[in-house]
């Protein structure tokens, strides 16, 4: 991908987004999918008002949330404790609802900003939301690509160029590579404000 300008650039006004319409559409689409993946299927009316307020499940809840079956979702909402299942369940009860909500609202904030007419300049909050959401999207794609080790991640580029993989793997891997490059530029742009 030949960009004359860095895809994200720090400026006094905020983080400039130098992506074309189609590239921003791809991002918005992926952010929408992330939002959907994090939907636990419970209509707002069924969520305990206290839970919605403080982000934790009520102590009377008979079915505390378990580690998600989908490995991608389990990577976004991992166990908090590896040695003590009780501590892990307690952690999940306290945090999962809040984490889901904040990840989803961050994805929507980022998508909303990218949907503005060009030229898009992100506020600090929007840039941070996009950086976190882009991380989550890459974590999901990484699971789908079965990246388990650093070596898997390092050989992705070669496997992509060799072209021996299934078409769906190739499509996902190309998006993953582009997102990784964008994320690096975004981290550099956001780090300027540290």
């Amino acid at each position: 991908m030949a960009h004359r300008k860095a895809p994200f650039k720090h400026s006094r006004a905020g983080v400039q987004v130098n992506l074309d319409d189609q590239e921003r559409e791809i991002l918005v689409h992926l952010l929408g999918q992330l939002d959907e993946l994090l939907d636990d299927g419970r209509p707002a009316g069924e969520v305990d008002p206290l839970e919605a307020l403080v982000g934790m499940r009520g102590t009377t809840d008979e079915t505390p949330p378990a580690t998600p079956d989908d490995p991608a979702l389990a990577r976004l909402l991992p166990d908090g404790n590896r040695d003590d299942p009780e501590a892990s369940a307690e952690y999940r009860r306290l945090t999962e609802y809040g984490l889901r909500s904040r990840k989803r609202s961050g994805a929507r904030t980022a998508a909303g900003a990218l949907n503005r007419p060009a030229p898009v300049v992100l506020s600090s909050e929007e840039a941070l939301s996009l950086m976190k959401a882009l991380t989550d999207v890459r974590l999901v794609l990484g699971e789908r690509l079965e990246l388990k080790t650093d070596e898997d991640a390092e050989s992705l580029h070669q496997r992509l160029w060799a072209g021996d993989e299934a078409e769906s793997w190739m499509a996902t891997a190309s998006i993953y590579e582009v997102l990784t490059a964008w994320q690096e530029h975004l981290v550099v742009a956001v780090s300027k404000k540290l």
Binding site: T59, R75, L76, L77, P78, D79, G80, N81, R82, D83, D84, A87, Y91, L94, T95, G98, L99, R102, K103, M131, K132, T135, D136, R138, L139, G142, L147, K148, T149, D150, D152, A153, T180, Q183, E184, V187, V188, V190, S191, L194
Partner: protein
């Protein structure tokens, strides 16, 4: 948080009180998060100087994990939750 009744009688044996046993937050290596992002998170969330953030990042990358903070259990749960919000693979546990 606990709803267990407060123990009024002191135990006969002298046990190390929980407050003296620090808990820790660990961040584990993963193949997706980049070195620059992990360093950014350690700097921005914990307020660590760049050198310390980079050292911890290298530990995660090369040793597979690093202890990124220590304190009470509640504080470590909070740090773990913050790391999960950033997409880092973190856990908390009692320090051995």
């Amino acid at each position: 948080m606990s709803i267990a009744p407060v123990e009024l009688e002191k135990p006969d044996t002298v046990e190390q009180p929980d407050t003296d046993v620090p808990w820790i937050t660990l961040v584990w290596n993963d193949p997706v998060n980049t070195m620059s992002y992990v360093t950014y998170v350690f700097q921005s969330y914990f307020g660590y100087p760049k050198s310390k953030a980079e050292r911890l990042m290298h530990d995660v990358h090369e040793k597979g994990r690093a202890v990124v903070s220590n304190g009470s259990r509640e504080e470590m749960e909070r740090d773990t939750e913050a790391m999960h919000e950033f997409g880092l693979w973190a856990t908390f546990r009692k320090d051995d």
